[in-house]
């Protein structure tokens, strides 16, 4: 089966610009998660979709971040406007079940805001 794919793998933008990250989960996985790792620190939870619904978005840092999952398939994470502290690696993961199910991760998008 195809794994979780993320696009782009790298993105360099200037402060104030907008960037949209995309994640395609494993087919059939209703659960989709976004995480980010900033400056090599811990991997922080951003939000969790079950199909197209946001189950938990408690980790979203502020209203400059908008995640969508229209139709319950792929997801996008938009940062608008980007700030310097948004630089980091953004990971997407998907899982089959909502409980006791391993997460399958993409390779991440490395975002650099200059």
């Amino acid at each position: 089966e195809a794994g979780v794919t993320q696009f782009p793998s790298h993105s360099v933008i200037e402060k104030g610009q907008t960037v949209t990250l995309r994640c395609d989960p494993i087919s059939g996985h209703d659960n989709l998660y976004w995480y980010r790792r900033v400056m090599g620190k811990e991997i922080k939870f951003l939000l969790h979709f079950v199909k197209e619904s946001k189950q938990d978005e408690s980790g979203m840092p502020n209203n400059r971040f908008l995640a969508e999952r229209t139709g319950g398939t792929y997801s996008t994470l938009k940062v608008q406007p980007a700030e310097l502290e948004d630089s980091g690696v953004y990971f997407c993961a998907s899982s089959l079940e909502v409980r006791n199910s391993p997460l399958h991760f993409g390779n991440g998008t490395r975002l650099t805001v200059t």
């Binding site: 995480y35 990971f91 006791n100 993409g106």
Partner: protein, 113 residues
């Protein structure tokens, strides 16, 4: 706040030796998972252990869970250079009806050939 925390932060061993990493957490959990991350790649799931389980094995990996001490350990036996990676424990709090997987800061393992 951080749920799980690995110990040590970094570990360097010779190929063939065993590597042990520990994870401590604060609140009651539904399950605990271990993941590996090679540089520049995504995380790879290793083992999931439920709160009512005490030990699980997968190949050269052995995971234990002690809920009374709120701790887990990951043992890699007969290590290989290819095991060099960062290892993360991740916990899902009991209080949620779904898995909210929270990661610790990780242990960086170096296996010297």
């Amino acid at each position: 706040s951080q749920q799980g925390e690995e110990d040590p932060q970094a570990l360097s061993i010779q190929e063939g030796e065993n590597a042990t990493m520990n994870c401590s957490y604060k609140t009651s959990i539904n399950n605990l998972q271990w993941y590996r991350q090679n540089s520049g790649r995504g995380l790879v799931h290793l083992i999931l252990i439920r709160s009512n389980e005490r030990e699980k094995h997968s190949g050269r990996l052995r995971v234990t869970l002690d809920t009374s001490k709120k701790s887990s350990s990951l043992l890699i036996t007969a290590s290989r250079a290819a095991d060099t990676a960062s290892y993360f424990c991740a916990t899902s709090p009991m209080k949620t009806s779904y898995d909210k997987v929270i990661f610790g800061p990780g242990t960086s393992l170096s296996v010297i050939p």
